[in-house]
Amino acid sequence: MTSEEIISCLQDRFPEAGIECLIDKGDAVVNVPLERLTELLRTMKVDPDFNFDMFMDITAVDWLERSPRFDVVYHLYSTSHNHRLRIKVKVDEDDPVPSSTGLWTAADWMEREVWDMYGIRFSGHPNLVRLLMYEEFKGHPLRKDYPYDKRQPLIEETWPSKKMQVKIDDRGIHRP
């Protein structure tokens, strides 16, 4: 299906308000409220008209000053129909997003990565621990309020010259 057909087909399935569809750069985009997300994702997976069998990516966007702070973005692809869909859901810091590991196994590590980098929790995830950063890491590094030059070394760092002592200020930033 083309993007326009996906959107019209999707508006037939979900005629009520709250689900907003648009076409961005040739791809169909759906803005969905958090409470309708599981239903929409299951329809996308199960419905033979859509048949999105490949869970390509899940990522997040941090809009620091906006009221629901994050966008969680799902990228779906159908290998049989060769079409794509992007699903965006607005969540706040404390809202847990329903996990989609039951639908796509590939969502496991991607949700762990989003938890690691942005601190968005996924309810129902089997093993929600950090994927990339180490366990001792504090905070979530891709949040906009994480200082870009903050370092959290695992072992003590020494400098080759004693004139360059490492100073750590109160924000945890290492400066020579």
Partner: protein, 165 residues
């Protein structure tokens, strides 16, 4: 390593011993390649036949730190992997040297962020810094020759046992 000889303790054959030991060590370098990133491809091209570093006695990498003389830190080192690098350096037996291969290993390169160690000289001492992203094989050979000079000019304390009694 600079050694100051005590007064009257330098034997007449000291210079000959320094020269012979340095000559023997510099032509039998065993690398330990600690390869974490794309600079490893450049290291492979150096180690293969076109830029044959076996000419300089450094052709055989050892993949055990206990058998290696020179730690070759090739590529970006994260904070997550830095304890591993420190343990490997501590496991290597003396005499040992280390080369920081490329911009990332030397100063962190373009990655000034939360994850990357800003230069391996913060956790292990570094003898030779190789610039470049990645360094050309000629740069690596130049650095290897500079390491040769460094090894050749090292002094050896023949009476360390007596001195530390």
């Amino acid at each position: 390593m600079e050694i100051t000889y005590g007064s009257g303790e330098k034997p007449p054959y000291q210079n000959a011993v320094d020269r012979i030991l340095g000559w023997g060590r510099k032509y039998s370098i065993f690398f330990y390649p600690f390869i974490t990133a794309c600079c490893g491809m450049e290291y492979m091209s150096v180690a293969s036949s076109h830029y044959d570093i076996d000419r300089f006695g450094a052709g055989l990498p050892r993949f055990s730190p206990r058998q290696a003389d020179v730690l070759l830190v090739v590529g970006t080192v994260n904070h997550k992997v830095s304890p591993v690098l420190k343990i490997i350096w501590d496991q290597m037996t003396e005499p040992k040297w280390s080369i920081s291969f490329g911009a990332c290993a030397s100063v962190g390169g373009p990655y000034d962020n939360y994850a990357v160690l800003q230069g391996v000289d913060r956790i292990v001492p570094v003898d030779i810094y190789l610039p470049g992203c990645p360094p050309r094989p000629e740069t690596v050979i130049d650095g290897l020759l500079k390491l040769h000079d460094k090894i050749q000019n090292q002094k050896h304390d023949l009476f360390w046992k007596r001195r530390n009694k």
